[in-house]
Structures are given as C-alpha cells and as structure tokens.
Amino acid sequence: MEHPVNRRWSMRQRDWAVVLWIAFLAAAAGSFVLFGLVNPLDMFGQWVDEYDIGVRLAYGLVFAFLYLLCLLASALTMFMVRTGPARGHVRGKGGRAIPKVKDPSRSNPDLDGENWQ
C-alpha cells in the first residue's frame, strides 16, 4: 500500500502561511516590548473609564492591533515582491527591450528646424 503523502503547498499558500506566521511573531515581540514599558491599564483607563476593560482584554486588543499592522506590512511586502520584475530581469530576460531612440529628423527631414535637437 502506498504511504500517504501530503500534497505540496502552492506558492501562494506558502506565501500566506509565512505572512500570517511572521506577522504573528512580530506582533508578539511588539507586545512584549510595549507592555514591558507601558501598563495596559494606563493606556485605556483615561478615556474609557466607564467600560473597565480589564488587563486581559487590553493585552488582547493591543496584540490584535499590532498583528493587524504587521499583517498589513507583510502582505504588502509579499505583494510587492511577487509582482516585481521576474528573476533574470537583470540579464534582460523577461520584460521589454530598452526602447531605441534616434534623432527625430533623421528619417523625417520635415521635422528639421524645430528645436528637436
């Protein structure tokens, strides 16, 4: 009997997995640093006194916010890299050739005399 093998992930699936995971790590690190410096209750206590949100919700909200921010940055980075010039671009593969230019009046004598030069 054949041993079952997991299907390989597509490039897009891998991209998203990496984005989600790395953003999570970055947000976790960000939360550690932030709450090492700031007491979460100080952040909310001032303006939303009537809803006493408690420490855990404060931690959660800030982490969610940081996660969202990191996700945005990661996803945009992924998008920019994936839609950028293809590999081999430097050797002139892919993309268009550099357009050639010439003196406008060379094959069009009537354009001479204007300030085309």
Binding site: R87, R91, G92, V101, K102, S107, N108
Partner: protein
C-alpha cells in the same frame, strides 16, 4: 549591455539613465498648473495665520491638529481615520474613471520630480545637452554646471524639509531657531531627513520609485477595466511606421501615420515606448500625447495618434463612463463625505468626562442627605473662553457643587471636583443621572453626560 553590467545577480536590470525631453502642450500646461497649485499650497500654507494660529499646524506635543477654523483633538481621531478612508476611496474612484491621473499630475513624486527637472533643464539644458554633458570629460564647464545644479537641488530640498517640519512646529519659531542654529534634535532630524528624501526621490531615483517602490502602481490595475481612461497609441492607424517627407503619401509608401521619430520615447519620464502597448511603468503624464500632437500638426496629420482613450474605444466598441463600479465608489464617497462634513459641523465644542471617586461609594450627611463625589474633566474645544452652568437634567432633587469655578479659557482642559447631593429618599441603590453642562454665553454649547448616583439600600 556590457559584460560588466551583466555580472552579479541583482534583481533589477540596469536601465539606462532617462533624460526626459522638455515638452510643451495642453497636458504639460495642466501639469505645470498642478505643480504650482499643489506646491504653492505646500510652501505657503504654513505661513498664513488663521484665527490667531497657523492655518495648518499639526501640534504633536499639545496633541491638537489645526486645519483652518477646525481644531482636532485626540478624541477626534475618528475624523482623521475617516478622512484617510475618503482619500483612499477618492483615489479608487478617480482611478476607475480616469486611470492614473494621480500619478501624472498630483503625486508628490511627480510634482517634485518636475521641479527638480526644471532646475536641471535650467542649468544643464534640454535632453541632448544633458546627454552630451554627462558623456563629456570633466572640465570647467561640466564642474560649474553640475555644482550649480547640486547647490540649487540641495537648497530646494532643504527648503522643502524646513516647510515639512513647519507643519508640525510653528514655522516662524522654527525659522528663527534655524537662523540662530538652535533647532531641537527632532526638528533637525526631520528637517534633514525630509530634505534627503526629497533630494533622493525627486533628484536621483525618479522613475525608479514609480517602477519598483510604489505600491499604488502595482495594484492600480485592479481598478482598471476596459472603460478606464488610459494613454494609448492607435496601432491600427500608426502602423507600419516609418520615416517620410511631408509631401509623401503614406498609403502609396505602405505606411501608417507613425513617422518613427521616437519623440514619444524621448519625452517619457519613465523611459518606455508607449507604442508597445499599455505598460505598468506608464504614469499617464501625457507627455507623449503632447509631443505626438505637435508632430502630427507639423506633418499635417490628424492629431490623436497617441491619446487618452479606453480599451473599448480602441477596439471600436462604445465606451461607457457610468458603470456599476463607478456608482459604487461614488455613492460610498458621497455618503462618507456628507457624514464627515455633517459630524464635523455638528461637533459639540465641549467635551466632558465624569469619573466617580473610587475611594468612597457615597457619604451620608446630616439632614438625611447623600453625597457622591466625582472628578469632572472638561475640554473647551472652542476658540473662546467660556463659563459653564451645570445641572442634573429634569430632576430638582439633586444639588451640585463644583470647585473651582466652572470656567475655561479657549482650548483649555480643566479638572474639577463635582459633589452631588440628594435626599436619601431619592431612591435606593444605583440611580442613573444625566448631567447637563451649558455655556453661559451665546451661542449655547450643551453637553449631557450620564453617570450613576449611589444611594444606600436601607
């Protein structure tokens, strides 16, 4: 490409330096106008005063944003968020209707690059002269021209950085501290950083920013459809291209209307050939339209070989301006703009927060009275000083004492101690009360805050 350039595995092809040729015409005039208006606003606004403060000032230390007659406090953050959403939606809307109008006329990258190009042209001359100068060996002329250009560029960049900081620090004070070399660390950093960014982006990187760094350039195509205005070369009319005399009959020579002068390539700030079709690098600046129209005039051909058009129009189909997505963007935009305008207009220029004293629930006083103590935080968001009256809405049982006196200067934040007394017979346990604050001066500003008044359960 030389052997040396091929070596290495850099992600990007080394494109030749782009020397955009000067161009005149309808769209070039439009862009000049956009540059003058936008940069005019940028450089002049901080110097104009309004209502006793700088017309546009983002005062970060005081956490107040002044935009003409409006002052935004940290509590108004929602407006800032909404305005950003409106800006984003407007970009979507404009892109869906008219393509990359933003890129060609209004983007700071385009606007400042244009100015840097003007300076470059002024000092080094137009395209052919610049190419010749760059290729020539270093001599007195080249050193003089290059130095002059750099001095002008750097001065302009520094002025730009100075103005940028002037939106965050009152610009007159900033000017004074710059003159006396007494700017603070952050001011110095941002002044130099923004100057450097201007110099680097508009002077050195230019089209590279649009091609490799700009996210909008990458995803704007998602907002395009076949009815979006794009700049395109009419291939059916232009091809086959070839040189000719004005008196030649193109049909006889088997030629289209494109005379192959390559001027459209030479004026292009991103160095592409629009005749190859719609390309992601095209920032829709319409320089190629202007120059091609001039050539067409010169040759006595009809204008519009390169023009603002749509894919549908090019393929002979009818182009539709009003499409579902336009409606969706427009409706969303109108709803948001109306909402923001309405709520900014109806903002109550008084903010009040009532916090219960946490130490004691209530205090029983002689005469069968119960007292609760609160901290009252008031922000007078108006430009005028005010005196306030405080009362409990629709209930004469409650008597209020405030210290110190309820008055605030313009834009002042104040903390007061509020003592509320009521007869013990007013109820049992927690009672909801609405406290109304009104100005004594006309026009009346009123705000009602709700809180709880605690009474014994006995």
């Amino acid at each position: 490409m030389s052997q040396k350039q091929d070596a290495g595995d850099s992600l990007y092809r080394k494109d030749p330096k782009v020397y955009p040729r000067d161009v005149q015409g309808r769209f070039a005039r439009l862009r000049t106008l956009a540059v003058l208006v936008l940069l005019g606003l940028y450089y002049i606004l901080p110097w104009i005063d309004f209502n006793g403060h700088q017309s546009v000032l983002f005062d970060l230390p005081a956490r107040k944003f002044y935009i003409f007659s409006l002052t935004f406090w940290p509590q108004d953050f929602i407006f800032l968020a909404l305005m950003l959403i409106i800006a984003g939606l407007s970009l979507f809307f404009v892109t869906a209707v008219a393509g990359r109008l933003w890129c060609g006329y209004a983007c700071p990258q385009t606007v400042w690059t244009e100015v840097f190009l003007w300076i470059e042209r002024l000092v080094e001359g137009d395209r052919p002269k610049r190419i010749k100068l760059d290729a020539s060996p270093w001599n007195v002329n080249k050193v003089l021209r290059k130095t002059t250009k750099q001095i002008l560029w750097i001065s302009f960049a520094l002025w730009t950085g100075f103005t940028f900081v002037g939106f965050f620090t009152p610009i007159r004070e900033l000017g004074h501290s710059v003159m006396t070399l007494q700017t603070g660390a952050w001011e110095t950093f941002w002044l130099l950083f923004y100057s450097f960014a201007t110099y680097g982006n508009a002077g050195i990187l230019r089209e590279q920013v649009c091609k490799y760094m700009c996210p909008y350039a990458r995803f704007q195509s998602a907002m395009f459809d076949k009815d979006t205005l794009v700049i395109a070369y009419d291939e059916a009319r232009g091809e086959p291209r070839g040189g000719r005399r004005k008196t030649d009959d193109p049909a006889e020579k088997g030629l289209g209307d494109c005379i192959g002068c390559t001027l459209c390539v030479q004026v292009c700030p991103t160095g592409i050939d629009i005749r190859e079709g719609l390309q992601i690098e095209c920032i829709a600046c319409a320089a190629c339209i202007d120059v091609c129209d001039q050539v067409m005039d010169k040759m006595d051909y009809k204008r519009g070989l390169i023009s603002y058009t749509t894919e549908h129009k090019l393929s002979g189909a009818k182009s539709q301006v009003l499409r579902p997505r336009i409606f969706v963007y427009l409706v969303l935009l109108l709803v948001l703009i109306t909402g923001v305008l309405w709520s900014v207009n109806n903002r109550v220029l008084l903010r009040a927060d009532l916090l219960r004293d946490r130490n004691a629930l209530y205090r029983e006083l002689p005469g069968d009275l119960v007292e609760n103590v609160y901290t009252l935080k008031l922000i007078n968001m108006d430009f005028k000083a005010h005196n306030y009256k405080i009362e409990v809405v629709d209930n004469k049982d409650y008597v209020l004492f405030v210290s110190p006196e309820l008055q605030l200067e313009s834009e002042e934040v104040g903390n007061f101690i509020l003592r509320v007394q009521a007869p013990a017979s007013a109820g049992r346990g927690s009672q909801k009360i609405d406290v109304r604050l009104t100005t004594l001066e006309e026009p009346i500003i009123e705000r009602i805050v709700s809180t709880r008044f605690l009474l014994p359960f006995k």
